[in-house]
């Protein structure tokens, strides 16, 4: 039977159980879009290619499956680059299909030609240019395999138009590809060493990272923590791996980490880092990070081990197998961490939490933290929260408590404004029955605001909560604290009327201007079927606290005016 490149592409996608594409058509991919008419596959037409890649990324984060995005050559492809870099930094499995000019034209500066494999070489896990139709099916298969295996990441496949148009004789039988073989080293020895360290510890602490969520290891992680009763702090990417409502929960570590989390890291004597790569926003001054601790480090990426902090015991493997082995050894040898040994430590942590919980001062204005607190209460902590980047992101991380993995979708490594709305779209497509909320700032929401049209187009009931302070808040905060209050180019007073804007798109728009409006507006927004955009006009110069000045030890936290009230 004769098959076109387009047909083979869809066959390969179905082989990978892809049921949804996020995309935007254009000249080089018209044959693929034409074939789509005959294929039973869901396509979400975004309004900008950056929306497509972020939506595929949000789909992947919320579902744990590979997200797929399809765009045309040239500008279609370059518009995805920010989103690809974003997925790369956060290790999100995404396959990006880009159109390309014909193989004969490549290198001749054709219309809408860019060397997208060259451009994305350093921000993809791998990329391919398919030169022959015979390679197409195998390449797609390999792309998915690479995207989801090991440390996941984005893979780009560039598809020249003639390859897609050409016809191949006979059905190529699917080559027998062995399933992803994830080499697991001998874990027993390092696990025993790790347990030896942990059981001697008087002040043990675990930092959980995104690797536990990506490795689908939250369950086994929780049972490990339960066995030894070790307090758990988290990175931004690890939120949800361990319940934010658990008594052992010790909060987020880092620049805007909780006081007690940063104190715990700085005082612990054994630190176990699981699926963590020690980003500089987590460690701050590296030489002062966990200065008293022996380090146990579990990560799938050998590059992460000893990159920032030298480990005393390290395991290069998925978090799941390592934690399973630890659990087995604990059970077999009936190991426990004697209560008496860590009693002081637990007491110390309770004291730190009591001394300086995450808090803020109230006044006659809406406090952004209050909006998040109320959102948490009204959704009973069960929403999927996507965020933009900046203050909104940090307040969401601090004041929403995440009990389940895959529920906090945020641009951690790259810090890409404009991520939240399309990511929420992807999450809502993946999880149609969940409440999906984009926590946004008035700055970042405008970076991909056009995706409101997508939301309406597909009837996605995404809720957008704008913490509108009429500033680029995080940059303004740094200007206030570190640049002598010189607010250079951070005033966003010239903003659209978000309620009218929402309505223009066909989205319900709501506004709150006083603290007493907050609950009512949130309730109305959450209870209204379909998409809603809520504009919360918040305290303009509210800051995120605690804050550790970049390059300072984690113990050097500023609290603004919060301490006075506490």
């Amino acid at each position: 039977m004769q098959q076109t490149g387009s047909q083979i592409l869809f066959k390969a996608l179905k082989e990978e159980k892809v049921d949804t594409l996020f995309g935007y058509p254009g000249g080089s991919v018209m044959d693929i879009y034409d074939e789509m008419f005959r294929q039973n596959i869901r396509h979400i037409l975004v309004r900008h290619e950056q929306g497509a890649i972020h939506a595929a990324d949000g789909y992947a984060r919320a579902s744990g499956r590979v997200g797929v995005c399809l765009v045309t050559s040239g500008p279609g492809a370059t518009n995805t680059v920010t989103g690809i870099a974003n997925a790369y930094m956060d290790s999100i499995p995404v396959v990006v299909l880009t159109g390309q000019v014909t193989t004969a034209m490549i290198g001749n500066d054709g219309f809408q030609e860019v060397d997208i494999t060259g451009i994305t070489r350093t921000c993809t896990k791998h990329n391919f240019l398919v030169r022959r139709i015979g390679d197409l099916q195998g390449t797609i298969r390999e792309a998915f395999q690479i995207a989801r295996s090991g440390r996941p990441g984005p893979v780009l496949v560039d598809l020249p138009k003639d390859v897609i148009q050409s016809v191949i004789e006979a059905d190529v039988p699917p080559a027998a590809v062995p399933p992803a073989e994830e080499a697991c080293p001998d874990l027993e020895r390092p696990c025993n060493e790790a347990l030896k360290l942990l059981l001697k510890a008087k002040r043990p602490l675990i930092i959980v990272g995104g690797g536990v969520i990506l490795g689908k290891a939250s369950e086994v992680f929780r049972s490990f923590v339960k066995k030894l009763q070790i307090p758990v702090a988290s990175t931004l990417m690890g939120m949800g791996a361990f319940p934010g409502t658990d008594p052992l929960w010790t909060g987020m570590v880092g620049m805007h980490g909780a006081y007690y989390a940063n104190m715990a890291v700085s005082q612990c004597d054994v630190l176990m880092a699981v699926g963590v790569r020690f980003d500089d926003r987590v460690t701050s001054k590296v030489s002062a990070f966990a200065p008293h601790a022996r380090l146990i480090h579990i990560d799938i990426d050998p590059v992460s081990i000893d990159k920032v902090i030298r480990a005393d015991v390290s395991m290069v493997c998925h978090c799941g197998p390592a934690l399973k082995t630890l659990n087995r050894l604990i059970d077999e040898q009936r190991l426990t961490l004697p209560k008496l040994q860590i009693r002081h430590w637990h007491r110390q942590l309770r004291q730190w939490k009591a001394e300086m919980p995450l808090q803020y001062c109230r006044n006659q204005n809406i406090k952004p933290q209050y909006v998040i607190e109320k959102l948490y209460q009204l959704t009973e902590g069960r929403a999927i929260i996507a965020t933009e980047v900046g203050q909104n992101q940090m307040w969401a991380a601090q004041f929403y408590r995440f009990d389940e993995p895959n529920t906090f979708l945020t641009s951690g490594g790259l810090g890409a404004m404009g991520f939240g709305l399309p990511a929420a779209i992807g999450a809502q497509v993946a999880c149609p029955d969940r409440i999906v909320v984009d926590v946004a700032g008035d700055g970042s929401i405008q970076m991909n605001i056009q995706e409101l049209a997508t939301v309406v187009h597909y009837g996605l009931p995404v809720k957008v909560v704008i913490l509108n302070n009429l500033y680029l808040g995080m940059v303004r905060q740094w200007q206030e604290l570190y640049y002598g209050r010189r607010y250079s180019q951070t005033d966003m007073t010239q903003a659209p009327d978000f309620v009218k804007l929402a309505e223009a798109y066909g989205v319900k728009g709501l506004r709150a201007t006083k603290p007493e409006d907050v609950k009512r507006i949130l309730l109305e927004g959450l209870e209204t079927p379909g998409p809603v955009m809520m504009d919360f006009q918040v305290e303009p110069e509210e800051n995120v606290y605690p804050i550790v000045k970049p390059g300072s030890p984690l113990t050097e936290m500023s609290f603004g005016n919060v301490r006075a009230v506490a």
Binding site: K125, H126, V303
Partner: protein, 164 residues
């Protein structure tokens, strides 16, 4: 001394694909490191290429680069070449003008360093030398003095002693 910056060599076995060299070069440039010398050619298996790179770096940096190289999909194996146990060679081709009065000195240099005269035309010759870095540097100094007109120098190749 792991923080000592010195010349270090890496051997990389890769799939012979069009963009693999760009990926490897990118791994160096992304960390701001210069490739001092590079030598690459297909192995006995035409789909596999062996690349040898030397670079100036610390022990710690070279370890990180090797980890990152091993993360590349088309890299089958990247490892440090342990310098104490290797033969290393570079090759140069040099063109000299050869007036009558310089012939004897050139013959002497070729003889002293097992060089070769690979081409001789009226008034000019191309010489070939192989050797380790020190030898090549010494030959180059002599060639400069003899009025070398042009030079091509390969990357360094290494072979570990006594290994299968």
């Amino acid at each position: 001394m792991t923080d000592l910056i010195k010349e270090r060599a890496i051997s990389i076995i890769v799939n012979n694909k069009p963009d693999v060299l760009a990926r490897i070069a990118g791994t160096f440039s992304a960390r701001g490191f210069n490739i001092e010398s590079i030598s690459a050619n297909v192995t006995r298996n035409p789909v596999i290429t062996k690349i040898i790179i030397t670079t100036l770096s610390t022990q710690e940096t070279i370890d990180k680069i090797i980890k990152q190289l091993n993360r590349l999909v088309d890299v089958l194996d990247a490892r440090k070449i342990s310098r104490s146990q290797v033969c290393r060679r570079e090759m140069i081709l040099a063109r000299l003008s050869m007036p009558e009065d310089r012939q004897a000195a050139v013959e002497e240099l070729v003889g002293a360093h097992s060089g070769k005269v690979v081409s001789r035309e009226s008034g000019s010759a191309i010489l070939e030398f192989t050797g380790d870095k020190d030898t090549i540097e010494e030959v180059l100094n002599r060639l400069e003095a003899l009025g070398m007109e042009d030079l091509t120098r390969t990357g360094t190749v290494f072979m570990e002693r006594g290994k299968p």
